[in-house]
Symmetry: C2
Subunit: 187 residues, 2 copies
């Protein structure tokens, strides 16, 4: 019951769910991938759904920490950081293991609005939006809430177009659009 076994399970389950989907991944597959017996898994988690929720929690922490750090490393002004979001996306999209947004996929497989997995996915997007609001405020731009929602739309749309694969560089398409919106909010 030492906690690192639990973390190892969650970390490896995250990779499998991300690459193969939630319904499509059975518990037997998790056993095969992690080398942890099914009984041990059910010592740590009551249900498969609890495992999924734990992987989403980890993903939320990892992704937001990565994005925020990346954005801060790429630009030192708030306005520049808003644009740097899309440079970070470009790096993400080019990774060979890129498979789209885990939270979009989770909410696609668990659609009921009050389902815990759907709620947790929506929370991730809410936290990102709130962070963008803060940066937009720091940049002194007009109507930061509105701008943040638009930048989120560009981010999510770029992810979808990256998965669908009909644009050479959806991240830069979105960045150019973001530039226009930021200019418009600079009165």
């Amino acid at each position: 019951m030492r906690p690192n076994k639990r973390d190892e399970l969650v970390s490896k389950a995250l990779d499998v769910f991300y690459a193969n989907g939630f319904h499509a991944t059975g518990m037997d597959k998790l056993v095969a991938v992690t080398g942890i017996s099914k009984t041990s898994m059910y010592k740590h988690f009551r249900t498969k759904e609890d495992i999924i929720l734990a992987t989403l929690e980890l993903r939320d922490e990892n992704f937001r920490a990565w994005l925020y750090r990346q954005v801060e490393a790429l630009a030192d002004t708030p306005k520049g950081q808003l644009l740097a979001i899309y440079d970070a996306l470009e790096d993400w999209f080019s990774l060979p293991e890129f498979r789209g947004c885990m939270f979009i996929k989770a909410s696609a497989e668990f659609q009921e609005l009050d389902h815990p997995i759907h709620v947790q996915s929506a929370d991730h997007k809410r936290l990102l939006t709130e962070h963008f609001v803060d940066v937009a405020k720091a940049a002194g731009l007009n109507d930061p809430e509105n701008l943040a929602r638009q930048l989120m739309i560009l981010k999510e749309g770029a992810i979808i177009m990256a998965v669908m694969g009909h644009s050479e560089n959806p991240a830069m398409d979105a960045k150019a659009a973001a530039q226009a919106l930021i200019d418009a909010a600079s009165h």
Copy 2:
């Protein structure tokens, strides 16, 4: 083997898949919902995957026909029609049965890039993009391909934000952004 039975199956299967997901919907559920026996289904389609592909084909026809018609009804200039896309989205989002984009969800459940379901979902997005390029050209705007990709990003992003439910009106957020992009492309 009369064809209307087949169409009835596809039409009802579309509703169930859209509302409940693909992996989460078993053949027994389709039997219960459609009243068509499993044997008859497998007379019309070799596999469940073939049924899914047929529902996506129907959805593609229905959605694009609806969107194009709606956009033409709402505006008579090409430039106005590009903006009317988001008015149409607003209507769609407000429907009680709105559950996001079926193709985004399909590609989320069938992730391999060469999977027929993924390919068909990507085709739907490609057809939409090409249509937007045509309208942008008719409007005489700069770099119509680039603008069309950006309008697609706004459309897909608005759908995601509508599903996640943190904006009062994601369609209008996207419309305002689209207005700024169209202005920027009007040199």
